[in-house]
Symmetry: C2
Subunit: 217 residues, 2 copies
DNA sequence: TAGATTGTTAATCGATTAACAATC
DNA sequence: TAGATTGTTAATCGATTAACAATC
């Protein structure tokens, strides 16, 4: 795991850059669908609302080179971003906690397009076990470890109540899971065995609400 | 709107700080529930996984002062953060697009605890109109503007397909909405009339997938 | 050729971290 | 008092932005 981080660093790929690449990709695909074959950094900047110089800096990490006076090949740029993000491959994942958020993530078509294959959900609720969400089967959380092992799952998505996070983390250490996408309210430390991305829905709302003036003002 | 941003800047409140405050708040509430009355910056750092010096820096924006050798009053700190984020007030909001993501946000209890009151959902689907999600009524999107006006709604949550974003933004300009929490795949520019927070689910996945090594390695 | 655009190197900006005096 | 912890000021670090040479 450490080597990967080091490698990303050596390649000068920052987390902010990684976060912006999907945005470029989205507009590049639209641009391609419109029949355009080349795009300049300036145009991509205008479409995404990101500074042109930052667009070029970000693109540089893909090693895709553009032609001065012309721009970048849209297809090559799409391929470059997808390759960098490993979005040209399939990623089998499990989701733990089969509630409303799990439904939302399973239903989120764009992620499927990026290679995310959620192959199973796990829950403790007997009413859910044996059922499915949009065709994704739901199993008893007791089956988590054997399922992950026999299907060589590398990614776990956490959408379960905070109370149960700790025990699930322990169980996951007996699997080949290498990355946890964590939507719970428990912050997970990055561990040498697996990489963690903590999402915090309240963080976005903090910005929203702090920008709302109290009624009196 | 510009004055708000300026004011935040004048108070030295950065976006990263705003994003971390909910995390502190979460652990402070747990700490309080455990019967603790004071907490040191170091302990809060350990709980949240954030550097102690950064914790103190972040706390400083709340104007809550601690006692050397003792720490911060937990209740005062909670109150300070909630006040800063306007989480001590109710915020009526509408959600546009009544799909799986809307269900997840409506079901997300923590947001309710932060004062977010989603009072109505809007959709174009006749099967959804007239129904509800967890008791939140769903209306025809045609009723959006009159509803927001007569209920003085200040916050809109976007969870609709990208194709329809533009027209909804236009409609919203005829309301008192001051903030848009945008979960669509269309990036919205911050406008002088309203503040925007763009969420991008693919951004988190980009970090996850780029940290997964290809099978051969 | 002239000029627009890329890609790299340097400068700036802002956020994080360190140092340390103040204080309980 | 002694020493732990706060809060502020300064230093560092990293990301963004600017400048500009290379090039098509």
């Amino acid at each position: 795991m450490k080597e990967i981080k080091k490698e990303l660093k050596a390649r000068n790929i920052s987390l902010p850059t990684l976060r912006r690449l999907p945005l470029y990709l989205r507009y590049l695909k639209k641009f391609l669908a419109d029949g355009e074959e080349v795009i300049s950094g300036n145009v991509l900047a205008q479409l995404t609302g990101i500074e042109a110089i930052l667009v070029r800096k970000d693109i540089s990490v893909t090693k895709v080179v553009g032609k001065p006076r012309v721009g970048y090949q849209v297809k090559a740029l799409i391929a470059g971003i997808e390759s960098l993000l490993n979005w040209d491959k399939k990623h089998k994942a499990v989701i733990i906690g089969a509630g409303a958020l799990a439904s939302a993530l399973i239903s989120y078509a764009e992620l499927k397009g990026h290679g995310l294959e959620i192959v199973a959900g796990f829950d403790v609720d007997p009413d859910k076990i044996g059922g499915d969400i949009k065709g994704i089967p739901l199993f008893d959380v007791k089956e988590l470890v054997p399922f992950c092992l026999s299907n060589n799952i590398k990614i776990a998505i956490f959408s379960l109540p905070s109370e149960n996070v700790e025990e699930i983390v322990e169980e996951i250490r007996n699997t080949n899971i290498r990355a946890i996408w964590n939507f719970t309210q428990t912050t997970l430390e990055i561990h040498s065995d697996y990489y963690v991305v903590n999402e915090d829905l309240s963080a976005g709302f903090a910005i929203i609400s702090s920008h709302i003036l109290p009624p009196s003002v």
